[in-house]
Amino acid sequence: MRKIFSSRTVVTIIIAVIVIVGLIAGSNWWAKRTNTPPFIQRFGNDLAGGVSRVIAMPTNAVGRTANSIGNLLDTFSENRDLKSKIDEYAQNKVRLQTIEEENASLKKKLKLQATLTDYKTVSAVTISRSPTTWQSQLVINKGLNSGLKKGMPVLAGAGIIGRISEVNTTNAKVALISDTSEEANRFAITIKGDDGDVNGIVTNFNREKNQLIMGQVTSDNKIKKGDLVKTSGLGGIIPAGIFVGTVTSVTKDDYGLSKQINIEPAADLGNITTVVVAVSEIGAQ
């Protein structure tokens, strides 16, 4: 019988597999440990980011046109819905401004420098998105030069979309909340229930249902479908009060011991052309 592989080939393949598995596991471990990648990797990424920016111009324009056409088809019904909401929105905006001013003056009287709700924003444009099976990441056009740090929350549209996972000199990567890796979506959140707040962290993302999961909830406070979920600010890096999504259902966990709250993310993770990085004034200090 003819041998498909010689013994030398088999040994080479085994060694290659061991080296590659080691490389994947090792670089994954290293990426989690460090805040910025090594100089050579950073330099390469900055260079690649520059090329990517040029190439992104026409493709982004095509994508924007396709989105615009899609939006145009929904315009009529959307406009009707929006009109009904706009009066309420204007009223809320005026109220928010008044409360913000009052809050600032009260903080001044109490001699409070900054609290968990104070954050500055850095706007950025998406230049690329990883065409990968896992670890869906965006590359944005701001980096160390703009004061970004690993772990900062990134917002787009209605709410939070992810966190900075790697910072290069002129660009940075954003791990999306749809990514199941630990650094992407394990942030502290709070839900305002009828009897009081429920605090916890996002423990997972269910990609098959497109839902964030807040697991190991033991609080007896009643949470119902439609309750709003926001960041709690605990941990320091992510400011408080960033909208995360709405509760879709509350179930028991696999062992029946604690509750699991399923949350539909507020932000659309598909079309992300511009983002805002929230720099917590406490975390940045």
């Binding site: 590659i20 598995v21 490389l23 994947i24 596991a25 670089s27 994954n28 990426a31 990648p37 990797q41 390469g44 990424n45 690649a48 980011g49 090329v51 990517s52 190439i55 992104a56 493709t59 982004n60 324009a61 095509v62 994508g63 924007r64 396709a66 989105n67 899609g70 998406t126 230049i127 690329s128 998105r129 990883s130 065409p131 990968t132 099976t133 896992w134 670890q135 869906s136 990441q137 965006l138 590359v139 996972s165 790697e166 990567k173 990514d179 199941t180 890796s181 997972n204 993302f205 269910n206 990609r207 098959e208 497109n210 659309d268 993770l269 598909g270 079309n271 992300i272 052309t273």
Partner: protein
């Protein structure tokens, strides 16, 4: 180097390969609303398509092909994921399988597209398995095959079919 030498395949091929690597990312970003509309997760893999053309049209004899495959894999890992090894292995194993199939299959368009289809499945499965090693996988194999592999293969094989004869002519011109 004289100017005409710049139009040789071994110069043009890696430039296009590098260009397509960034085009994949830009397409994913620009058309993200369509490609990642729930529950789908479709990947544009033009880079692998360009490697397929080199295998199908026997261009690997004209240039250090394996070096380009490894370099593009390393660059992909560095720029898109920051974790080294996954996509380098995916590109290398996919090209290796396509080369083995190329020895068995004939030169016709449909045989070539079948070869690319198998190469694409190998590429996606390697990335799926790598997700388990790094602990980021969250989708069962059935959902992965249905919502990612199937649409990705359909899209990319269609693109490869459209570009087949133009790229064949280009390779003939550059040789």
């Amino acid at each position: 180097m004289a100017f005409w030498q710049l139009t040789r395949l071994r110069v043009v091929y890696p430039i296009v390969l590098l260009f397509l690597l960034f085009v994949d990312g830009s397409l994913m970003s620009g058309m993200g609303g369509i490609f990642t509309a729930f529950p789908w997760h479709i990947l544009p893999v033009l880079t692998l398509g360009w490697l397929f053309y080199a295998v199908q049209f026997d261009a690997e004899t004209d240039m250090p092909f394996w070096l380009y495959v490894i370099l593009i894999g390393v660059l992909f890992d560095m720029y898109y994921t920051g974790i080294f090894g996954t996509y380098t292995l995916a590109f290398v194993s996919s090209v290796a399988v396509m080369m083995q199939l190329h020895k068995v299959l004939d030169e016709r368009l449909l045989s070539g597209l079948f070869m690319f289809l198998v190469g694409l499945i190998v590429y996606l499965l390697v990335t799926y398995v790598a997700g388990f090693i790094t602990g980021v996988s969250s989708v069962g194999l059935t959902a992965f095959m249905l919502f990612e592999v199937m649409p990705t293969v359909i899209l990319n094989v269609m693109i490869a079919a459209v570009g087949y004869y133009p790229v064949w002519s280009l390779f003939q011109f550059l040789r």
